[in-house]
Symmetry: C2
Subunit: 463 residues, 2 copies
């Protein structure tokens, strides 16, 4: 038995070490930390990539996390901070203190440094900025004046710009000598004398040219210029659509001020999709890493919406107490209508919210999308109204009851369909996020209407 268990773990390990750190390594590290075996901790951490150390830190329980950070402090790799989840990073930054953080920031790429500093609160941020060398501080302070989630916040300052009259040989020579190049880059940007980007040269293209070729003869001119104020979601769409790996960022007058690379965009794409998933289920994005009480508090805030919704629904039902007393089958059947139209509506809301986010839904196809939902709502309403009406009629041996339930279902599923597609579009037009409010508004509507129509029809036609 022991044999077998050992084998299974080894198997699992083999799979997981593809990511550089296995659950077993973390377990070994937990033990070493608990026993204060500094030497073993060092040996376990040493071979790991910064991203893997970040994973380890995220997996550890808070107390051991604290111990590990103290052990790592003297040789702390700032890259680890760049790879941490926001919530955990805040905790680690707090523990490391101003001096160490300032030092880490001056060692990082400008975009990673910014990511670190932008999550600090006002006071802490000022304190850290004071400890950073003037040159880097000025740059950081300027970028911080741009709105959060803008392209300027995402870009790095380090870029490679060359004039179009250079030859390939000039360019290669320049890159061989210049010390201040970005650590990694994929395109050169060609600029005019005013420092406006007029083209781009992928490195893989540059490498295949003869030395005497002029840059202007090989540069791609259809580059996508990203304004500093463009929203990061738009930046991500642009990269995805055109399969970009890097793109120049330009200021208001069109001068190049930095570049955005695809690794930042991968992060944004994930963040934006994650936000929509979480908002549609009414939880905070960072829920998983949040401490117990703050998770509890944020979930309670979201559930308050459901509670208010249900109190309103109960109020609607209470208007029909006499009706229900006369015909208790109504109480048995009444949740069906609200639940079916609620779920059907959330299907439409989700599809519409995502189609808006991915720009698949626009002015041109809007009326077509709305019509489609109206028709789907009608078809599905008739299907479920028919089926459920028939079941109810047989169950309570009362055809009229079946007709009332079926009719109410058709009506509500139509309302859910129309509301589900129009609500997110309207909310988006008002420049608000449809992922947040479209769901709750729709569910409240379908609930209230669900009970009101079924019980109302019953009162009118049955009792």
């Amino acid at each position: 038995m022991v044999e077998k268990e050992h084998f299974q773990i080894a198997d699992q390990e083999e799979n997981e070490t593809l990511y550089g750190v296995s659950q077993d390594t973390i377990r070994a590290l937990e033990e070493a930390l608990e026993e204060n075996n500094t030497e073993l901790v060092g040996r376990l951490i040493e071979p790991l990539h910064a991203a893997d150390v970040a994973t380890v830190i995220e997996y550890l329980p808070p107390t051991l996390r604290h111990t590990l950070i103290e052990l790592l402090r003297p040789t702390f790799d700032p890259e680890i901070l760049a790879d941490l989840n926001d919530i955990v990073r805040e905790e680690v930054v707090e523990q490391l203190g101003t001096q160490d953080i300032a030092e880490a920031i001056s060692k990082l790429k400008s975009d990673d440094a910014l990511a670190l500093i932008e999550y600090l609160d006002e006071d802490k941020r000022k304190e850290v900025l004071k400890s950073i060398p003037v040159r880097e501080r000025v740059i950081l302070e300027e970028v911080l004046t741009y709105p959060e989630d803008s392209a300027a916040r995402l870009m790095q300052r380090e870029i490679v710009c060359v004039p179009s009259f250079w030859t390939v040989a000039d360019t290669l020579q320049y890159m061989g000598k210049e010390k201040n190049l970005p650590e990694k880059f994929y395109d050169l940007f060609v600029v005019d004398p005013k420092h406006m980007p007029i083209g781009g040269v992928p490195l893989s293209l540059l490498l295949r040219q003869s030395p005497t070729t002029k840059i202007r003869d090989i540069m791609m001119v259809d580059i996508k210029r990203i304004p500093t104020l463009m929203d990061q979601e738009e930046v991500a769409l642009l990269f995805r659509k055109y399969g970009l790996v890097s793109a120049p960022v330009v200021d208001e007058v069109g001068r190049i001020v930095g570049m955005i690379t695809v690794d930042d965009v991968v992060y944004v794409i994930e963040e934006e999709a994650e936000k929509d998933i979480m908002l549609l289920a009414r939880v905070n994005e960072s829920d998983f890493f949040e401490p117990l009480l703050s998770t509890s508090y944020s979930r309670i805030r979201w559930l308050m919406i459901t509670l208010l919704n249900m109190i309103m629904a109960a109020t609607v039902i209470s208007q029909f107490q006499e009706t229900i007393e006369k015909m208790v089958a109504l109480a048995v059947l009444m949740p069906i209508n609200a639940a079916m139209s609620g779920n059907a509506g959330m299907q439409v809301v989700t599809v519409t919210v995502r189609a808006i986010a991915t720009r698949e839904l626009g002015g041109v196809n809007m009326s077509r999308a709305i019509w489609k939902e109206v028709l789907v709502g009608l078809i599905n309403g008739v299907v479920f109204g028919g089926v459920m009406g028939a079941i109810a009629a047989f169950w309570f041996a009362d055809p009229a009851l079946g007709i009332v339930l079926g009719g109410a279902l058709i009506l509500n599923m139509m309302v859910a369909a129309v509301g589900g597609v129009i609500m997110p579009i309207l909310i988006d037009k008002m420049d608000m996020d449809p992922a947040i409010s479209a769901g709750p508004i729709l569910t409240t509507t379908t609930d209230l209407l669900g009970f009101a129509t079924f019980l109302g029809f019953a009162k009118l036609f049955l009792v």
Copy 2:
């Protein structure tokens, strides 16, 4: 008035042309197609990037889409197919026919060609393959033997491999001459005589070396080798974690067979997140582009789950008809319990499903995650049980009724919390997708239990 409207459109246009194609262009194209103005259609399409033509095709209504494809046929750019949404692509492929598709496939990069062919049905695929030149056909047929969603399906065959004993000058010379290089690449891979990757050299690093430097002295040895059978979701996690732009794919014995680049990964990340969003809301991924009847059909299939769920709930309620008849306030309050615990449970399911998908939840922190949810469930249960119990007690001037509702709420919110975290973990352990089934199972549980406990307690203690 006309003046102003014109101005607004121009404004909107300015914003949208960042993506190369505005809603106005699409509208103009729609008109031109309706009027059969071939010359104008040509002028509107000509300046567009293939990705933008794909967008235009997606936006057009099916009939005009058909007309446009016919007009484009003689000069059809195969890149357009690579950029189309799956559903629309299928339609276009159908219309273009075997001969044109085979031609397009032979012009595309190996990964894009594969993406095109893998969605064809068995017969069509065989037909198309027959029309493709032998060399490309053999490669495609081999890759098609790998499972869908595997790394092998994602990779491109075109790679740049160099031996470690070469100098930078050797390498540059080779790349200058060799005709069969990939169109775009970001890293060279260093291979041993058995063609196993032993290192990688980012182009931006290569460019900064002196010509006599040996490749072995500059290569990065901690490259991430991707087995052909790795799931695309794992590939995406790997790229994101280590900020990769390209990585070598290796066969069972470790020989390099291709590479995966970040643009493919961006697509996978989005696809995987999209799948989870849609599944949690119980709709098909491609819902937006599906034709009316197929959307309707797939939604009905999902809603059948809700229907069965509600019929079971109604059956539970029907067991308590007498109780409800005696105390109709129960009918008023009973939806609250089911709805609150259902929503609270879906919060937990969503957080857990995503934490599993992003590997934030693993063996080490599992028990901690479960305990956290149990405690959050308890706290939130007590909060809402208390609040709602008090409201019910005052509303119906019946403290016992308040206690029954409050108690049932605490119990159900605990069950929802525990079920919400354990269910996805168990489903994942069984190698099934928790995003599909965790939600429905949980909602059914909370619904049935929600009605059963509240009405059960009421029967026992109140009437």
